[in-house]
Amino acid sequence: MTDKTTDAVKTTDVTPPDSTVVRAGTLSYLFPRRSALIAVALSLVIALVTALAAFASSTSMPFSDTVAGLLGTGDSATVMLVRDFRLPRIAVGLLVGAALGIAGCLTQTLAGNRLATPDIIGVNDGATAAVVASVVGSSTGMIGDWWLGPLGAIGAAVLVVLCAGGAGHRGYRVLVVGIGVSTLIGAITDLVMSRENDNTAGGVFLWTVGSLNGRDWGVGTPLALILLILVPLALVAGNRLQMLRFDDDMGSALGVNVRLVRACSLALAVALAGVAVGIAGPIAFVALAAPVIAARLTGPARVPVLGSALTGAALIAAADALGRVIAPVEIPVGVVTSVLGGPFLLWVLFGSNKTGAES
């Protein structure tokens, strides 16, 4: 019996699966082979989607010219057309998708529930209400500044957490209170819309379904800078969030400050979702779908923060391009993701729960 055990130990590989250990002296690093491979593959998908989206714009131009324009190797008119007129919108879409993907990944892991997205905890509605409400004070009837989005999101999140009495206990209470608060805040958006004339309400409506129309570097640059700060923080948080997959007692006993990790992750998710909604409106389902797809791709051993970002980016850029080619009049990206997201939600709800073992 003893010998058998010993043999099993000798032949058992206890190294984390899908990883390569790199050691130097007392330092050691686990290179996540599978996650890295998936990240490279997703980046290629994003490059392809970017090229197709630039190609799919209304003016006719051969695909080879579009790619040359993107790479800066075409003639100057082509380069200008692609880079100055088509690329900004695509880039904003990619960034917004990355932000929503990470936000969804964080909230889903926090709550231990794949349906727990920023939409559900009232963050999107808060951001929407803040931006829409700003239209009231505006004489031109134009949508207000994007930075009202994160402010509204933070306001809604603080309200939800206060009403729920803290962010503890796997966030179930936060979820339930969030549903109530988002309904309340949604009513504010509706009230504002009903008070405006048809023209303004039309513009506001377009924004409230989520659209990338007319988004350029004016919003893209601040978004990129914000993500430059938030994404590395989210990657660190994702590493710690792994330990929240245990119950709180076990997590604490393993040396994790469970409350701090939870609070920081929630704050990051709120900020990311708020910025994204402020810029592109509440684009539905990306925050739900991106982390689920990323988790399928990278396996259950890690919290797929990077994978969710890349998947979210690809999803939004693809949906936006699709919305521009399938109908004579552009369909807003939010409508496209809603149409595609419905069946996906049903798949998540009723589909197989198999996530596969770690190794």
């Binding site: 050691s28 006993a253 994790v256």
Partner: protein, 272 residues
């Protein structure tokens, strides 16, 4: 199973006792633990017994840094546990909660690796030390054959041994167990308690909360009986367990018999 004992003994995490001094802890409007003193030597198993609500779980939680005491100190070796950082404390004290929840779809090896978390960092993600500790924990608990299996596909007894392996991989001198046998049948319960004895024999200090007085009397070196937040009796089981103690703790009449072999007390409740 004798060989496993030497493996546990070979681990570096041994030799620190646990001292509890004048510990008081409670909840708003209620004192659950009222001035408890304990002195647990390394290499021994101590079991806390008592009726529901006697404060034994709160005491364990206060020692495990899960419930902040109102006053008093908890020392592992010379260090005040509540003065350490969370991570440092996790180097000294490990806890197995009563019904721990595992990450979704985790494998046995994956679970045991999580036990190394307090020893890991950004640039110390998987050291040779981690590898050795996980191997030795798997071997000590006889779960090496299960390493690649998914935890949720194992039986209750196997699962509990895997959780113990994770706690052992943490390589702490003090190990706390909250009702480690509550969900197990007699056979698997005994298996786990035998394992707990081996862990202590390797030099660690083991403190467990047990519902089952008979099992506690049989497997613990020292019995701590609690009632109403206080320690009412403390010492080797065969000296402590009496009809009077059973009546004081549980309010029932019982006879105490002696087990053949080691004379450990067996509680037989009288029928009314």
């Amino acid at each position: 199973m004798t060989k496993t004992t030497t493996d546990v003994a070979a681990s570096p995490a041994t030799g620190l006792g646990l001292t509890v001094e004048a510990l008081t802890a409670g909840y708003p409007g209620r004192t659950a633990v009222a001035g408890v003193d304990l002195e647990l030597p390394a290499g021994e198993v101590t079991a806390i017994v008592g009726p529901n609500g006697c404060g034994k779980s709160t005491l364990l939680r206060a020692i495990a840094r899960l419930h902040k005491p109102d006053s008093g100190t908890v020392r592992a070796g010379d260090a005040d546990v509540w003065q350490l950082t969370r991570r440092r404390a996790a180097h000294r004290i490990a806890l197995l909660p009563q019904s721990p929840q595992a990450p979704e779809a985790v494998t046995v090896a994956g679970l045991v690796r999580y036990g190394r978390h307090p020893h890991q960092g950004l640039f110390r993600q998987w050291s040779r030390e981690d590898e050795r500790a996980v191997r030795s924990a798997l071997e000590a608990t006889g779960t090496a054959e299960l390493a690649g299996r998914r935890l949720d596909q194992l039986s209750g007894g196997q699962r509990q041994r895997c959780w113990l392996a994770m706690v052992l991989a943490q390589e702490t001198p003090v190990v706390l167990l909250d009702e480690p046998t509550s969900a197990l049948d007699l056979g698997h319960g005994v298996e786990v308690l035998e394992l707990v004895r081996e862990v202590a024999a390797g030099g660690r200090t083991v403190l467990m909360v047990l519902h089952d007085l008979a099992a506690a009397a049989r497997y613990a070196d020292t019995l701590v009986a609690m009632n109403d937040g206080r320690v009412v009796a403390q010492g080797p089981a065969r000296e402590v367990v009496s009809s009077e103690l059973v009546k004081e703790l549980y309010g029932i009449e019982a006879d105490i018999l002696r087990a053949p072999g080691d004379d450990s007390p067996v509680v037989v409740p009288r029928r009314g």
